[in-house]
């Protein structure tokens, strides 16, 4: 599904922050992406959701060499990838319901066609009573779940989450991990970027460890 071959990344004329990355993310797989701060986790996530281009190497996603894709094609490819940002990036002027429905709205779907899907998902993540709440009045955990719901509403093939438990207490972190596991069981490949060893120890999954820009894979 995703294949990196000898991928390197540098910002401007600086040194390479990612070096010779060669790995694959298989369909229905679950993996943690970890490493110390500054190891390049966020940069790798940005490569994975096509926010930046590599300085060298090949990135193939869903059978397409991303270097050859037009901007519109990359946008369409991005619809198959769900992203959960560490800072949530919910739109403050929109309700929880509208935030979660946004990916369906950009597909041009009418509200009547997706209302039920969004409501079901929001109930599933425990936000069934917070549909009309604006993000500023949501708690950290509620924001996180809304962000996750928005990332998965369009049923992406790949879910990327950047430090999804960074702002929540251990109990909620455990519940969020269960949510990701459930999503993975329903067919979504999941990549969770975290440096929370405790979280990784709760679930036996593949680990992609970044250290000084290089990747070590522990199956």
């Amino acid at each position: 599904m995703v294949r990196f071959e000898n991928v390197g990344l540098r910002y401007g004329p600086g040194p390479e922050v990612l070096r010779d990355l060669t790995f694959a993310i298989e369909p229905h797989s679950f993996q943690f992406l970890t490493g110390p701060s500054g190891a390049g986790k966020t940069s790798l996530l940005r490569l994975l959701f096509l926010s930046i281009r590599p300085s060298r190497g090949l990135i193939s996603m869903f059978g397409h060499d991303v270097a050859t894709l037009s901007k519109d094609s990359r946008a369409i490819l991005r619809r198959r990838i769900g992203i959960v940002f560490q800072d949530f990036r919910l739109l403050d002027h929109m309700s929880t319901y509208e935030n979660v429905a946004l990916p369906l709205r950009i597909l041009g779907r009418q509200e009547s066609s997706y209302r039920q899907e969004v409501l079901e998902l929001l109930h599933w993540v425990g936000l069934g009573e917070r549909l009309g709440a604006l993000p500023p009045v949501l708690s950290g955990g509620e924001k996180q779940r809304a962000a996750i719901a928005r990332a998965v509403i369009a049923q992406p093939a790949l879910l990327l989450a950047d430090e999804p438990t960074g702002n929540v207490d251990p109990s909620l972190a455990q519940r969020l991990l269960r949510l990701f596991i459930e999503l993975n069981k329903s067919g979504t490949s999941v990549v969770i970027a975290t440096h929370d060893i405790g979280l990784m120890d709760q679930y036996d999954a593949r680990r992609l460890v970044l250290h000084e820009g290089r990747m070590h894979v522990y199956e």
Binding site: A75, R79, R89, M94, L102, P103, V125, R130, E142, R175
Partner: protein, 319 residues
């Protein structure tokens, strides 16, 4: 605030929540765009551009009417000289002119009429006999046939010494040049106003893009195409352009319509007579109002396209 427990699974489809049924929010909120200042700028620009258009149309219509009037007439002038009988030569010129093809009417000016022509410069109660006043004969050209001016000049010249035939070509040339200058000036002013509008909209769009950068990024990351993102801004600027254009164009229409009212109110006064002499009806007519309406649409279109262009340019810099 406490977190609610996650539902383990879906037991049954929940009822539609009332809050989910409310009108869908705009992706780019209206109040995030500095709308009022931009509406004011667009309204002022449209107002000035519409007034310019109205003024140019008045000048063009009046110039066309003057040209038409002047082109339908020619003037024979017989200059006085010692030992000449102006009366007899005048009658001879009238006969020659009446015989010429393409002349519909020949009207010799009497001495009194000639005196009236000189009144603005020399005052009333003239003793024309003491002045070398030329004899003037006005010819009205037939609508369906142009006279042979060269043949008429030759015929008159052969019989009467010192006679001239003026077809007012020089006047028409001057008026045409004046009308063209007014038109060029109007187009120039319109171009400057459009450029000022484009620059204002471009600055406003850049400001809106900077304010809404987080929204743009989220849309980008969830797979929105650039065209979709641009359309979210474009619809705001179309609305602002239409409101500003309608306000400015509407005000200009009111002022132009007021010019007609001015004529009616001051009918018979010196001011009205001078204005009527210059601009005839003082009305830009249906075509003038249609032109102002077209300008409102043009300004709205320019506002929309400028904002789209700026948004697209900004989005191009985002991977």
């Amino acid at each position: 605030m406490t977190d609610r427990p996650l539902a383990d699974s879906l037991i049954s489809p929940p009822p539609a929540h009332p809050e989910s049924r409310r009108a869908t929010s705009r992706i780019v909120p209206r109040d995030s765009i500095a709308g009022r200042p931009l509406i004011a700028v667009v309204a002022i620009m449209t107002f000035l551009a519409s007034l310019t258009t109205g003024a140019v149309m008045l000048v063009l219509a009046s110039a066309a009417e003057w040209q038409s009037d002047v082109a339908r007439e020619m003037t024979i002038q017989i200059r006085p000289a010692a030992g000449r009988d102006l009366e007899a030569e005048g009658k001879q010129a009238v006969e020659i002119a009446r015989a010429a093809p393409g002349i519909a009417e020949v009207r010799p000016y009497t001495a009194q009429e000639s005196a009236r022509l000189l009144e603005p410069w020399l005052g009333s109660g003239l003793a024309l006999d003491a002045l070398p006043v030329p004899r003037i004969i006005v010819l009205r050209v037939a609508a369906d046939r142009r006279p042979d001016l060269a043949a008429l000049r030759a015929a008159l010249g052969a019989s009467i010494a010192g006679v001239t035939v003026d077809d007012h070509r020089a006047w028409i040339g001057h008026m045409r040049a004046m009308a063209n200058t007014a038109m060029a000036g109007g187009v120039g002013i319109m171009a400057l106003m459009l450029i000022a509008t484009i620059l204002s909209v471009a600055f406003a769009t850049r400001g809106a893009m900077a304010t809404n950068r987080p929204i743009v990024e989220v849309l980008h990351f969830i797979g929105a195409r650039d065209g979709f993102i641009a359309s979210q801004f474009q619809r705001h600027f179309l609305r602002l352009g239409l409101i500003g254009g309608a306000l400015g164009g509407g005000a200009a229409m009111a002022v132009l319509a007021g010019a007609g009212v001015f004529r009616d109110v001051f009918l018979g006064t010196a001011a009205e007579e001078q204005a009527s002499a210059l601009f005839n009806t003082m009305s830009i007519g249906v075509s003038g109002y249609a032109a102002v309406l077209g300008q409102i649409i043009l300004v709205a279109a320019v506002t929309t396209l400028t904002s789209r262009q700026v948004v697209s340019h900004t989005l191009a810099s985002i991977e």
